[in-house]
């Protein structure tokens, strides 16, 4: 029994790719290969072996023999070709399509024979074959007609009869109560086996319940109604869960340092209101000063109850070997902070303890943050209290996510403290954040592709180079440089990265917790449970 926060809107991940759809895909579909979220190694799934051309542009993959879809129809290379056709189909307008365009160009996929597929990249791509992770291979025999008719978007919607949702995954959809629950049963045709050759999955049935918030999930976990959730434990729940663990009701597992530290950024768009009224808010010295004025350790202790590490940038130790330890985490230095602020023209002209800008107005800004995420709300509060010590007056406003993003996209804010979930540790998968034109280039969303500053241009250039390089060592070196440039210019400030712990019912076995989502269900085909004692 697992829980989701929101129900999926479709069973076809190509149509909508939010968290719920991604997890359903893990249950009912399979991809050609998988990047193991714990070891970060590539593992064969539907593809068993692959070779590449010397220039790494063309890859030939051998597909697994004897694989059948859940309705018994054999799996062939034609299904792979079909999936890519659907992916790039303009009528479907897949949410996933942009992630499969290399510099705007699609991959070319050809079936050499029933068991072999050839994949050609339009230009060199660093991660290479890893791009196939997470792409579900769809059944051509079920969906080809819909693709041709242009109705693929509506197929496999929420009210689809379960028997129509056919896939190569470990489970099949058995029942669907809209808004409340989903039921999945074992796929008898599943191709996976464990090390000893036994057929996977071990589980006979997986029930998904839609539980809207983490408090409710916690209660269910405690009572034994729920076995698995997809959230990481919040610091305030640790005490309760530890006592539950000692009673043998739940198991706690540490997954490592998380990948999604929250960030504080200012509106750096050159044409925004802030640029006109309070130009000092956009100055680098201002940000550097704040980074030196905050007490990161206090945030680790207060907000995360000690279960976090102080960090300087968006890349945390949880990013494995992509993390550059050379980038120093600033130590609190109020004197230097004040000096930097003075450089930006901010001194206390009225003697009231608050700094003033050259025009004599008090230094004040508002931080927007996400309501409901207590760690963000509390960090923002602490930030406000700490910045008082250097004479900056800060107001914190907690908004719901939609309103927050609304302000972000409308360029109507001073500063925001927020973050988003990273789906991969490979920087090539995150162009939206790093590139100036990216849709998640938080501090300047509407920048389009021309960078506003020299260092942003530098990061753009470096990023393109690492994305196009097929030499792993070189990619890591370039990325370390990117992190250093980032730390030098601080477009966004980072304070602490939580150490992530996962809780699940003690009757679940085979769990290998990961810092990537979903932490427990990613290897659902290898999970097993001890049967419930009757009457529990």
């Amino acid at each position: 029994m697992a829980s989701f926060h929101a129900e999926p809107t479709t069973f076809d991940r190509l149509v909508a790719s939010r968290a719920a759809e991604q997890r359903i895909t893990l249950l009912t579909q399979a991809s050609l290969l998988r990047v193991n979220p714990v070891s970060h190694q590539v593992e064969p799934r539907l593809a068993t072996a692959w070779t590449s051309s010397p220039d790494k542009l063309t890859w030939t993959l051998k597909l697994r023999d004897g694989v059948l879809f859940s309705d018994g129809v054999p799996f062939t290379a034609a299904d792979v070709v079909f999936t890519f056709d659907a992916l790039y189909d303009s009528r479907l307008a897949s949410d996933m399509a942009s992630g499969y365009l290399i510099r705007g160009k699609p991959l070319v996929v050809r079936a050499i024979d029933d068991r072999t597929v050839m994949l050609t990249f339009p230009s060199p791509y660093g991660p290479g074959i890893r791009i196939l992770d997470g792409l579900p291979i769809l059944p051509r025999h079920k969906l080809a007609a819909a693709l041709a008719a242009g109705t693929l978007r509506e197929s496999w919607g929420r009210s689809t009869p379960p028997s129509d949702v056919v896939g190569l995954g470990p489970f099949v959809l058995a029942g669907n109560t809209p808004g409340q629950a989903l039921r999945f049963t074992r796929n008898p045709h599943y191709w996976g086996t464990d090390d000893r050759g036994r057929a996977l999955p071990y589980l006979d049935e997986v029930d998904i319940e839609i539980v809207p918030n983490q408090d409710a999930e916690m209660l269910r976990l405690e009572s034994g109604d729920l076995d698995v959730t997809n959230d990481f434990i919040r610091p305030e729940d640790v005490a309760t869960l530890r006592s539950l663990a000692s009673q043998g009701i739940v198991t706690l597992a540490e997954a490592g340092v998380g990948l999604d530290p929250s960030a504080l950024w200012f509106d750096l768009a050159p044409q925004s209101k802030v640029a006109k009224d309070r130009p000092w808010l956009q100055r680098e010295e201002f940000r550097q000063a704040i980074s030196l004025a905050v007490d990161r350790q206090a945030m680790v202790d207060s907000v995360y109850l000690g279960l976090a590490v102080p960090i300087a940038g968006p890349v945390t130790p949880g990013f494995d070997d992509w993390y550059s330890a050379d980038v120093a985490v600033p130590v609190r230095d109020l004197a230097r902070a004040k000096a930097l602020l003075a450089l930006a023209g901010l001194t206390d002209r009225h003697g009231d303890g608050i700094l003033d800008d050259p025009a004599g107005k008090s230094v004040h800004f508002t931080v927007l943050t996400q309501k409901g995420r207590t760690d963000r709300e509390r960090t923002a509060s602490l930030l406000a209290a700490q910045l008082k010590a250097v004479g900056i007056d800060v107001d914190v406003v907690a908004l719901d996510t939609n309103a927050l993003v609304g302000h972000l996209t409308a360029d109507d804010y001073d500063a925001i403290y927020f973050g988003a979930q990273t789906s991969s540790i490979d920087p090539a998968d995150l162009p939206q954040f790093w590139l100036s034109g990216g849709s998640f280039h938080l501090w300047d969303l509407h920048e389009a592709d021309k960078p506003a500053t020299a260092w942003e241009a530098q990061i753009d250039d470096l990023w393109q180079r690492q994305a196009a390089s097929t030499d792993d060592a070189e990619r890591h070196r370039i990325f370390a440089t990117i992190q250093q440039v980032f730390a030098d210019h601080l477009p966004a400030l980072y304070f602490a990265a939580p150490k992530v712990t996962v809780a699940f019912g003690s009757r679940v076995h085979g769990v290998r917790p990961s810092v990537l989502q979903p932490p427990v269900l990613w290897n659902v085909d290898s999970l097993s449970v001890t049967p419930r004692v009757a009457g529990r």
Partner: protein
């Protein structure tokens, strides 16, 4: 009983007014290593005998479990009249947490006092606004009669049927959400007044239209008093009603502030108000171990109780009747 009620209200009002003096700590300071700290106990005596009131410094024993122990090795005496505060404790002995600390280590007692200013302030302003608007509209309707009266009362009736909190919710939600706290204060006062005037108007209209037929009113009209002067004559008759209406509106508005702030649509989260402080109770599990987080709820209860005692039984029914559609 009425006097007990008045006494309670006077006490709370004094506390709120005297917040800067009574609060031992700054309400915005998050004290390090004091998250969820229990109230600091005041002792008068230890193994050595009796002393002036003193406390022990609280030491964090387990951060994750928020367990604290007292450092009984040194007595930290209470200090009086330090820095303009009535009582407090020096920085070495750790902050004096009369009602414990919230999840960020801020002193709940101090926040409660300062929060009273915001919560009671916006309520008082809103109630005053509702009374003024309601009195004017009701009196106008009662004096003018005819279509004006019908229209005004129809609007009032309509608004009375709406569930108040939903109305406030939608109205507040449609405003930009990231406003400064002073703007929010004014906005909430206006919204409360807007939500509260209909029931005042109904009652005042009823009273005024009855009074209109009385001799002294007829006399005033006979000598040519215009409508506004007439209103000035008739309004005092409604003063009793208005007084009671005030007492009825205040609890409703206090609850409205608490609800809106709890939902995040009221005061900004780190501005202490009784509603924003209640946000810390959202994690129910922690309440069992840290019940002092419920302090604002208890205080709200006390204020409403005081008002109930002042109101007494009889008038309440009259007003509910007047507020209904009969």
């Amino acid at each position: 009983m009425t006097r007990v009620g008045l006494g309670i209200l006077a006490l709370v009002a004094t506390f709120a007014a005297a917040a800067p003096v009574l609060a031992p700590n700054d309400p915005a300071t998050p004290f390090l290593n004091r998250a969820y700290a229990p109230p600091t106990r005041i002792h008068l005596r230890d193994l050595d005998g009796w002393h002036t009131p003193f406390i022990y410094r609280q030491v964090l024993a387990d951060r994750v479990l928020s367990r604290y122990v007292d450092d009984t090795s040194t007595r930290v005496p209470l200090q009086w009249w330090r820095d303009g505060r009535l009582f407090g404790v020096g920085t070495d002995g750790g902050p004096m947490l009369v009602l414990g600390a919230d999840p960020l280590g801020r002193d709940i007692f101090s926040r409660l006092l300062f929060g009273a200013r915001l919560s009671l302030g916006v309520t008082a302003l809103g109630a005053a606004g509702a009374l003024m608007i309601g009195a004017v509209v009701g009196a106008l309707a009662g004096v003018a009669g005819g279509w004006l009266e019908a229209v005004l009362m129809w609007i009032a009736d309509f608004m009375l049927v709406l569930p108040a909190v939903y109305l406030l919710l939608v109205l507040r939600a449609m405003m930009p959400l990231s406003l400064g706290w002073t703007t929010i204060f004014a906005l909430m006062a206006v919204l409360f007044a807007a939500a509260g005037w209909p029931q005042v108007a109904r009652g005042v209209r009823g009273i005024v239209s009855t009074e209109r037929t009385r001799d002294y009113a007829q006399a005033a009209r006979a000598i040519g008093a215009g409508p506004f002067r007439l209103v000035g004559h008739l309004l005092p008759a409604a003063s009793g009603f208005l007084a009671v209406e005030l007492v009825l509106l205040v609890p409703a508005m206090l609850v409205a502030e608490a609800t809106l702030s709890y939902l995040g649509l009221g005061f900004p989260a780190e501005r202490p108000s009784w509603g924003t402080m209640l946000q810390d109770t959202a994690n129910v599990r922690l309440l069992a171990d840290a019940p002092w987080l419920l302090a604002p709820a208890a205080l709200l209860f006390i204020v409403v109780l005081g008002l109930q005692l002042v109101l007494g039984a009889r008038s309440e029914r009259t007003h509910l009747k007047a507020a209904s559609r009969s």
